[in-house]
Symmetry: C2
Subunit: 297 residues, 2 copies
Amino acid sequence: MGFEVLKEKIKQSTVKVKIAVVQPIDKEVFKALKVFCDAKLCHFILVGSSNIIHREAKQIGLTDYEVVNAADDKTASAIAVSLVREHKAGVLMKANVSTDVLLKAVLDKESGLRSGRLLSHLIILARDNGRFLGMTDGGMNIQPNLDEKVDIINNAVKFFHGLGIQEPKVAVLSATEKMNPKIKTSFDAEHLIERSKKGDIPSAVVYGPVAFDLAVSQRAREVKGVADKIPYDADIILVPDIICGNSVAKALIYCAKLHSGGVVLGAQCPIILSSRADTAQERLYSIMLGIMQCIPS
Amino acid sequence: MGFEVLKEKIKQSTVKVKIAVVQPIDKEVFKALKVFCDAKLCHFILVGSSNIIHREAKQIGLTDYEVVNAADDKTASAIAVSLVREHKAGVLMKANVSTDVLLKAVLDKESGLRSGRLLSHLIILARDNGRFLGMTDGGMNIQPNLDEKVDIINNAVKFFHGLGIQEPKVAVLSATEKMNPKIKTSFDAEHLIERSKKGDIPSAVVYGPVAFDLAVSQRAREVKGVADKIPYDADIILVPDIICGNSVAKALIYCAKLHSGGVVLGAQCPIILSSRADTAQERLYSIMLGIMQCIPS
């Protein structure tokens, strides 16, 4: 499985998903939009400064799109959220707006997109071996507690089910596979495995604590003598906090050059929260991930 | 600068460093030792099960080495430590012994290698652009406080001075470059920069908070509009805790395939704490890093 496989699935789907894009301004965003429009993979509603949007759209040759004018970032966010509430869009996408501003609109108790579940961020990385690696939560929940981690895992597991992976393997990340009472995540792993056994995390295998190498390398598991206990790579890595998740993901993107996309799960619709520094390709992959949540897998 | 440059420096040095190796058993360790022996880069004292050591040494064709027999891991660790105390060895190297057992011998108040400074782990990664990236502390201090972080930075800075980098740039890692009162490392950065200004971290530039991408990518800094404020890549990344440091380093090693070596600093001698899953090459680089601390830069 890789992003090319996703693209094929989206192409073959009869559902044409509508995406509300908040404040598209820079050329990288428009490059991504154009690829989808040209391939007729989805439909875009662009919300923001209509002058800039029309200018950039014209310059890059984007034709098939709608525009809703908005005076500023806050207004654009609120309008895009309302489009989802009114079922005029199925996916929400952040462009040149700060995450804080967009999430404030999403989390608004009156007019937002809360579904009763915790919102969480999932990054999907395409590994060299053709597998997807999910990492959560490196974008949203700063230091989640154990109940929140159950929600974060479930959001990611549900996403993987949507990709057709029936029983994703969820590794609870730590610095070592050994129980160390001084390392808090040792207890996290114990607790989350227990919760999984109780049925709180259905259709997934939760295991850990594991160090990163054990989650991604059969060779490391063999050398460390845990290959019997852990005979598989992780599909999803649960990180302890936002700094760890953000840093590991960025190390994989910037240094390992892994293709990646990010999506926020747990709201009334998938939310694409790409970073200001993302390339057009990264945006493409994030858009695909968002669309995947709206079409039958 | 890369590991090849280090090798040249070691070759050209007139000082022949002695390394006490604790419990060398597997073939990967002996492969590394042989490279150094053949090139006459240093001298090894192998401490552990002498039967196994002689058998493996013979098999790989290792000739120039000393052996001190030890019945078990604990004894081997204690003997190796005493060799350093008696100035018979200048570097301590972990082979097939658990980190905990070796560090217990190192940290023994009576017979260990304490120097009054905090011990900390530094991993050195050779980036594609030819620069070394130090990451600390992903191997030893689980959740260091701010005073300990000052020591951890100073250990790494001193190491970089030894590599000939006069004023290393130290990035305090976070999930964003923005001050966020909910993210503890925002305050860490503020405090550590203050300590640096007071002279507690001499001959270094401490900055932050920064997300990983800003520490390693000029493009990310430009897109996020901080290229003026941060016009350089980091030499050293201070991670908030062991899980983050361990995971980011392993992501860079296992997925970005960066060459790396690790060393423990702050004791009476450099300590090479390579992981059980390290390859011969990773061990080579760690040995070089240890030797570099014993020869004039």
